[in-house]
Symmetry: C2
Subunit: 219 residues, 2 copies
């Protein structure tokens, strides 16, 4: 029945990705996964050992892709700029866009990439968090140093927190965008759902302003 080597393994990863992104790691059972994947119950333990190791692999696979993409975009920007200084908006976009879509997973409201990139920050399981956080060290360092160059009068100590504010805004933006149609929207406000590019544009605008806010002179 299996067509190629490792097919079952990948099927499980894909099914688990989808389910975890919707209900979280603790909210999904191994039986949910094998049923969705159409494979045997024993397959998870055979291929991954434990449910937790499967969880780690799902999240790491997704985040590695996103973060590789972020760095690639930054590299491309710097190469294209040829020594000229980048704009902060360009840098922020290079950070934001890969969390939303890439060549393998084009934009859609059913996008696993975006959904999982959100959920990875929301998993309370400490073991999972450990591996998830590891995926961000390289990207954090790269963007940190680039942004410091682009926003010269920003104290280094401030950037750490502002980067996290950006990450939070990104997550929340994604979450609301994905759930928009199924969400009880407060009447009297009547928000509109922008298309995908509109969301990025709004995020970039917000975060760019936030990142480059002048620090009040202390003392």
């Amino acid at each position: 029945m299996p067509v190629r080597h490792g097919a079952t393994r990948d099927t499980i990863l894909d099914a688990a990705e989808q389910l975890f992104s919707e209900r979280g790691f603790e909210g999904i059972s191994t039986r949910d996964i094998v049923k969705a994947a159409g494979v045997n119950l024993g397959a998870i333990n055979y291929h991954f050992g434990t449910k937790e190791r499967l969880g780690v692999e799902v999240y790491v696979r997704c985040l590695a892709r996103v973060n590789r993409n972020r760095i690639a975009r930054l590299d491309a920007l710097e190469a294209a700029g040829g020594g000229r200084e980048l704009s902060l908006a360009q840098v922020v976009e290079a950070f934001v866009r890969p969390a939303m879509a890439d060549e393998k997973e084009p934009v859609s409201s059913g996008s696993n990439l975006m959904r999982l990139a959100c959920r990875c920050f929301q998993e309370p399981n400490p073991e999972l968090r450990k591996f998830i956080e590891e995926q961000f060290t390289e990207v954090a360092l790269r963007f940190h140093s680039v942004i410091l160059k682009v926003v010269p009068d920003l104290p280094a100590g401030e950037l750490f927190w502002r980067m996290n504010f950006l990450i939070g805004a990104l997550n929340r933006g994604q979450e609301i965008w994905l759930r928009f149609d199924r969400m009880p929207r407060p009447q009297g406000i009547d928000p509109v759902k922008p298309d995908f590019e509109g969301l990025i544009q709004r995020l970039v605008l917000f975060a760019t302003a936030g990142l480059s806010a002048k620090c009040p002179i202390v003392g």
Copy 2:
């Protein structure tokens, strides 16, 4: 044994609040809760019916307090201002501060209030989400209209998204602040953990800039 009416019920609520805030709703069992609360296993079902209804009550109790506080702060600001226009920073602070501490729960790294106010946005359980989101309708409307007054050239359609960016930044800021000491911090960046007021100040600065960013002229 019980000293006053409803003591067991409240003990359960407090214990569940603490545990849910750390591991999420799905990550905690009824047995975890009764053990932490020091009450009988049957007590949860007796007082709340189901685990899910206990979950709803825990989150609603916390959010009702936070959001009541937000509105009270806004009322106080408007009363004190006596018709003068508020500053955006004041409004943002009125939104941010109640999610971090109040008279019942002063600031500390063990603060349940802050931890739970974060987790409430991260629960994947749809039933829980429904009740959680309900808690925000009033506060959303109030702050929406106030901010529109304070940032006059902000298109109403934009504010919905920027408010959510603010919420995201707030959540992420809280989360990182709470976990700061137990977190693997990227070397080469060496961030410092501000005190509580410093966190609020940074959040207000970031969000104020983001909220009042000028929209690029389209067309």
